[in-house]
Amino acid sequence: MRLQTKYILALPLLIFLISLIVFPMAYLWFLSFNNVTFVDLSPSFVGLNNFYSALTSIRGILGPIFFSFKYALISVIIQVPLAIGFALLFNRKFRGKNFFIIIILLPIFTSRVLLGIMGKLMFQEGIGTAAFFVNSVLKPFGLSVSLLSPEFALWSLIILDSILWTPFIFLFVYVALQSLPKEYIEAAAIDGASKFGTFKNIILPYLTPILAIMGIIRFADAFKTFDIIYAVTGGGPGTLTTTYSIRIYENAFVAGDYGLAAAASLLGFFILFVPLMLVLKYTRRKWRR
């Protein structure tokens, strides 16, 4: 084996990463220090101006970052326990199990923007079945709600998000649960442990590493959310459900202010994603099997 062969094998990947990550990221930094707009594409140096506007102007990034944070946190808090529940539900033999698992996993392979459109067809007043059901239940109490109104938009989005992403977490928790040695559970049963005791003292500690990693990954993905929310509410009503990604998209491709958008995206990256990456690195090292 010649020494160079291994580098030749890895060379295409290296070229790919340099041209599509290193170079564009460098260009993004360059944009963030310059005034570049749709009207005036020639860059002019403005120092930290873009970062200042990204923090303070009405097209700034702090509000959307706060919303994204809230959205991601609620998603994780709802979806991780739900996924554990489903994994326990499926952790037994019953008729048609494989069929049910396949159907439950299908949302993983569904386009998020299409699911958003489907969500709109559910929540919209006039034709939305979900809107109809909710209002039929509330009618005897003399209430009527709009699922996309400021009060309920966030929760409608969370429900849709959970339909899409709980299966993804479920898959990994379920596979981990399958690898738990049956002897542990049997031994606990012989010792007279209750079902809840077995869950708390054996199953949950065994699942902790995968739950931690899935929680972090899901949080990061939920924070990035664009497709679903853009399709259902377009960031509204008003700017109530505008996420980090939607605000940057609007700044760059609707308002045409590329410099501001570049600075805003970098700020979000350093406020959130860099710490998350470090947390994940620490978590993986701690539980490396």
């Binding site: 580098y7 790919f16 993004l28 299908l106 569904t110 079945t129 709980t166 898959l171 998209y249 760059a252």
Partner: protein
């Protein structure tokens, strides 16, 4: 009683998770009068008129978007297969990158796509890749690279070293080794990575939205365009969504074993 409760929860779960698709399917097959009826009708005379309308509508080229999606996903899949086949072999066997590459890939997964949208949009304008199938396919390869790399690496690591060592002792060259020994043994991995990349590329929206305007619009962006242009034609909107869902879901069902194995092996390391 316990058994009853179990099935009740299971069926309820089933209904909730299939509800968006079932609801959309019902709308797609209803006549306009039935769509707007209150309460919503569950039994009705199905019609194919919305599907016909979508496929023939003036000013809306469903077939073009569909073909674009197919082309983008296919090109992106082959780029990824080529990239990951050679690089994961180099990492697994010769520790290229000193064991840091898997971690780097995982960090890449955290990079928000919106961050790269802006430089890609401007750079693609300069080099003429804007609004081309190839340009979008390249960005999809980048987005799916972390998962494809990690899945492929897990499959390469499963191949027993002894077979390759025997071949090398017999004087087999690296090219020959990769072609006639590693490639056949890695087929399950190539299938898993291939279909995962194809499905995820088909479903991608943000990059395609930013980088396409007329020529290279894929079906996810096309569906969004339909909603914007024909706001209240709910039957047609539902029909577009159902048609766009078919290819990825069909692949996921047909190759579920390989795809699920690949996902669970690769995504968590």
């Amino acid at each position: 009683m316990k058994k009853f409760l179990f099935w009740f929860v299971l069926i309820l779960t089933f209904i909730i998770f299939t509800f968006p698709v079932l609801n959309t399917m019902l709308i797609a097959f209803k006549t306009d009068a039935d769509i707007f009826s209150v309460p919503p009708k569950i039994i009705f005379n199905p019609t194919l008129s919305h599907f016909e309308e979508v496929l023939t509508k003036g000013g809306y080229s469903f077939d073009k978007y569909f073909i674009n999606s197919f082309a983008i996903s296919t090109i992106s899949t082959f780029i990824l297969l080529g990239l990951t086949f050679f690089s994961t072999y180099a990492v697994a066997r010769y520790r290229v990158g000193g064991g840091n590459l898997p971690g780097l890939m995982l960090s890449l997964r955290f990079l928000p796509p919106i961050l790269l949208c802006i430089p890609f949009y401007m750079l693609f304008t300069v080099i003429g890749l804007l609004d081309t199938v190839l340009g979008i396919a390249i960005t999809h390869s980048l987005i799916n690279l972390p998962i494809a790399f990690l899945v492929m690496l897990s499959f390469v690591e499963e191949i027993p070293r002894s077979i390759e060592e025997a071949a090398i002792l017999d004087g087999c060259s690296t090219g020959h080794l990769l072609r006639s020994i590693v490639f056949p043994l890695l087929k399950p991995g190539l299938i898993a990575v291939g279909f995962i990349s194809f499905i995820f590329s088909w479903n991608e929206y943000l990059m395609a939205l930013v980088l396409s305007s007329t020529g290279a619009v894929p079906i996810t962006v096309g569906a969004g365009l339909f909603v914007q242009s024909f706001q209240v034609q709910y039957g047609e909107i539902a029909a577009v969504v159902i048609l766009a869902l078919i290819p990825p879901l069909l692949l996921a069902i047909l190759f579920r074993k390989q795809i699920v194995k690949g996902l669970t092996m690769g995504a968590i390391r």
